[in-house]
């Protein structure tokens, strides 16, 4: 009740003050935002006969408006508030209508020299210290499923691989006329999690994340950057006397060379991490102790070749990440497979009321499966969908080489991408034999309209992604897991701005793996042997009307499901009709 009153007060305060400002000076306040209408109707496929307990079809939807208010009381200060008004379909007379403050931020420049931001921040450093890696199966996805992805990213604040955090940030730079060219600093302190009551007498501690970057342009070709980040708990803010500490130190040297045809970038990057739990014994009058102390390092040598006309981009390199390298800011996953996370669409299925395992369709469409909070220990992952680099480039216990290319024709008739990697574990898990990993992803898009010089768009896109995991040695511990995803999509503009779309996505995984179980301190406690043989599919067709960029209406129909072979799950098939009207203000 109090919270609702507070929100209303904030809402009216902002709007009334905004109107006042508007009346005084229109340049001091401006608005943007996003509006979305969403309707989905899910239905059990008519061929499914073993689920008579679930509703045959379910529909839901909502209208929402995210209104961004930017207030500039001074030239160098901006106050930003994002207010969300959301109304679920079926709600009536305000019940089911939510009004939330979704983001609040103040930012400005002090004396034209020091920039600062307070409130909701979107932070990123580099791929080993603070980086919000893309979720699995996204890199080569077809255009037709993009509206789903857009919603997932928007609702979970995933922008440019940044983590959304709340705190304070500042950056400033110096320029020099001798020895080095420039020196830039970026510093922040945030609180990813506040103290909260666990039960009547126990409170969790505040979790803080602080860090800083220093980048120096030494000369025209050479720059040096260092990064530091530390995730830590403040034990005194809770009742637990145990608090985590996870500092990560990073340094990289970038060499840059360019002429009028191409440019080359070479980067040497290395660093190390420490993670331990501090046991505060101040109440007992003895000195503090630590436990579960792990230290690990990483190294990457990255080479990039880029043609100036953007027709060829080639990246290759070598990477080593120690088994004990732990970086909460870089190893926290978007997809959350923790116990208790269930699918939003038909979470229970069959007449035995089984919990439905997630399929590719759930990963593509269900924004509730995604995580926004940094984790101090490695999160659970599903080897079916991502086994080679489940924590991105910062995945611990990997060493290997990688290659990425992007080749376009000059007129963009054909666009192609290839991503390959060959890795192995630094040490084995549960056995001295090491897993070996192979990764091969390829995609192309043919823009027929550019080829034929048509005004209206006609394009065909296809991609293939394969992951192979193998471990030899004794039969009892050997592993052979192969997963493959295939995408095919067609986009045809029938009349101006009106598109017909069709796509097919097929995913299969076959083999065996050992799922890793860890304790609260991230130590491996058990390996669960699992056999995998499943095939997921999504067939979609629909229509899209693009009013302009970022303003579109989309209606499509999806047939999707999963088939298990020799698995303790039952197959399932569902259909979905979806309508999305998205307007970026």
């Amino acid at each position: 009740m109090k919270r609702s009153i507070l929100l209303l007060l904030v809402f009216f305060a902002v709007f009334l003050s905004a109107n006042n400002l508007h009346a005084q000076n229109m340049e001091n306040i401006w608005f943007d935002g996003l509006s979305r209408s969403y309707f989905a109707r899910d239905a059990i496929d008519k061929n499914v006969t073993d689920d008579t307990l679930s509703a045959r079809n379910i529909s839901n939807g909502y209208n929402l408006l995210d209104l961004n208010t930017h207030v500039n009381p001074l030239k160098d200060i901006e106050i930003f508030a994002q207010l969300r008004i959301r109304n679920s379909f079926g709600s009536f007379f305000g019940s089911g209508t939510e009004i939330n403050v979704r983001q609040l931020r103040a930012k400005g420049v002090i004396n034209d020299k020091i920039r600062f931001s307070v409130g909701d921040l979107f932070l990123k450093q580099n791929k080993f210290t603070l980086y919000n890696y893309d979720e699995e199966l996204t890199g080569y996805e077809n255009e037709m499923l993009k509206p789903y992805r857009d919603i997932i990213h928007y609702e979970n604040f995933y922008t440019e691989n940044r983590w959304r955090l709340q705190g304070i940030q500042t950056d400033f730079s110096f320029e020099f006329d001798r020895f080095i060219r420039s020196l830039s600093f970026d510093l922040f302190v945030t609180r990813p999690r506040g103290s909260s009551q666990i039960n009547e007498t126990t409170y969790s501690s505040d979790l803080l994340l602080s860090g800083g970057s220093m980048v120096s342009q030494i000369n025209k070709r050479l720059s040096l950057s260092t990064n530091y980040i530390n995730l830590f708990e403040v034990a005194s803010s809770g009742t637990n006397n145990i608090s985590v500490r996870n500092p990560v130190y990073d340094m990289s040297l970038l060499h840059y060379f360019a002429n009028d045809k191409y440019q080359i970038e070479q980067k040497l990057q290395s660093g190390f991490s420490q993670r331990y739990w501090l046991h505060s014994e101040i109440e007992n009058g003895i000195s503090d102790s630590t436990s579960n102390d792990t230290k690990g390092m990483y190294f990457e040598f990255d080479n990039k070749y880029l043609e100036k006309d953007s027709t060829i981009m080639l990246t290759f390199g070598y990477r080593y990440v120690d088994p004990n390298f732990r970086s909460s800011g870089a190893q926290t996953r978007r997809l959350n497979y923790a116990e208790g996370t269930s699918n939003k669409i038909y979470p229970i299925y069959t007449n035995m009321s089984l919990i439905r395992p997630a399929s590719v369709f759930d990963l593509v469409t269900d924004d509730h499966l995604y995580n926004q909070e940094l984790a101090s220990t490695l999160m659970v992952f599903n080897p079916i969908y991502s086994n080679v680099l489940p924590y991105g480039d910062a995945t611990p216990n990997r060493t290997g080489i990688y290659l990425m290319t992007k080749i376009n024709t000059k007129n963009k008739v054909v666009i192609s991408k290839i991503n390959a990697g060959f890795y192995k574990e630094v040490v084995g898990q549960g056995t001295s034999e090491k897993r070996k990993f192979g990764l091969l992803k390829g995609a192309f898009k043919i823009n027929f309209h550019k080829w034929m010089k048509w005004e209206k768009e006609l394009s065909l896109a296809s991609s293939s992604e394969s992951e192979l995991t193998r471990r030899g040695g004794e039969d009892i511990s050997s592993i052979n897991l192969f997963s493959h995803q295939m995408n095919l999509s067609v986009n045809a503009e029938l009349i101006k701005k009106f598109f017909i779309q069709a796509s097919y996505k097929h995913f299969s995984a076959d083999g065996n793996e050992f799922l890793t179980q860890r304790d609260n301190y991230g130590n491996i406690t058990y390996f669960t042997s699992t056999q995998i043989n499943q095939k997921d599919h999504i067939l979609s067709c629909g229509m899209l009307y693009k009013f302009r960029k970022n303003v579109y209406a989309n209606i499509n129909y999806n047939w999707w499901g999963t088939k298990f072979t020799d698995q303790p799950y039952s197959d399932y098939k569902y259909n979905r009709l979806i309508f999305i009207l998205s307007v970026k203000l």
Binding site: D322, V426, G428
Partner: protein
Amino acid sequence: MNIKTKLIFILGLVCFLCNCTKMEFEGPSIENLYGDFELIEPLKITNKNPNFSSNEQVGFHCVFNKPVEWEIRVLGLSTSASKEISGFSSIIDSNIVLWNGGPSQLPFFSEEECTIELTIENEVDTLRDTLTIVSSKTYEDGIWLENFEDGLPSDGLVHYNSDGGAMTFSLANDDALLGSSYFKMGGRVNWDWPLGNLDLPINITNINQNSDNLYINIGILSDLEDLHTGQFINILISEETDTPFNDNLNNNASDIFESTMEVYKIKVPVDWDGWQIKSFRYSDFEPVSPNNQDINFNMNPNDIKGIRISCQACPSSDGNPICPENFGKDVRTDIDHIIFTSNSSLLDQ
């Protein structure tokens, strides 16, 4: 640096990195986890003649070559009482896996010979041993206890529907849970839910347990012979501090369980044969009047002033036939040994 120097530098660094980690492998050995089971150290018992009344304990020790699902079962040869302890580990540590003489469920152990069996999931062999209980565990050690051994407490109040048939709201000595006396609650009121209740005053102002650490345990007797399927017990606990326990002397019930007071409740369906001990964490009790804004529901065990054990059953007569299948059946929800314990339930003490 020329290319040759760069390559030598990179190769040297790679060789250095490959030798960085000294671990052989992470985690437990898969060959152990999924290999053949082996017993490394046999089952050992730390106390073959435990005197549980003196708070002695029995520790169990055993070591396997891999983590397994194990279960230890202690069976009293005279009483058929049993205690099961289970876990998943490669070591059964006698400092951690301890038995204090209590059963998993009734009956209690007495001074008797006991067999001990250690079974491993998916393994055919069972490890066996025996022990002799010199003195059985006592269950008198609690924050507050009412065992009816000295009759009904003088300030306790009994109220029941006197129009019912075969009403049994009185002490009995024929089949007590512990000791010799227990309180019978039952009878037949076909037309209404409440049969009657027993109200007892409580004074535990000097305890420092919070509601998460306070357990209310009660022995309840029923029978499956012609079971009344709609019978249950409501346990009400009052933290009313202004009204005296027996404010109105003209009625036979306490006056601190009104809907306008800070009263908490829990419902216990009674559908078993014989005695069972039921244990409830006080924090699991719910407010009786949660929507009453005038009541500050702030559980504080120090403020507990009384407990009501209320016998109720689903009515079955023609006038109110909600449970017609129970027509003509007697309700039986007898009780004994109401005890408040701290930190764990009575059987886990």
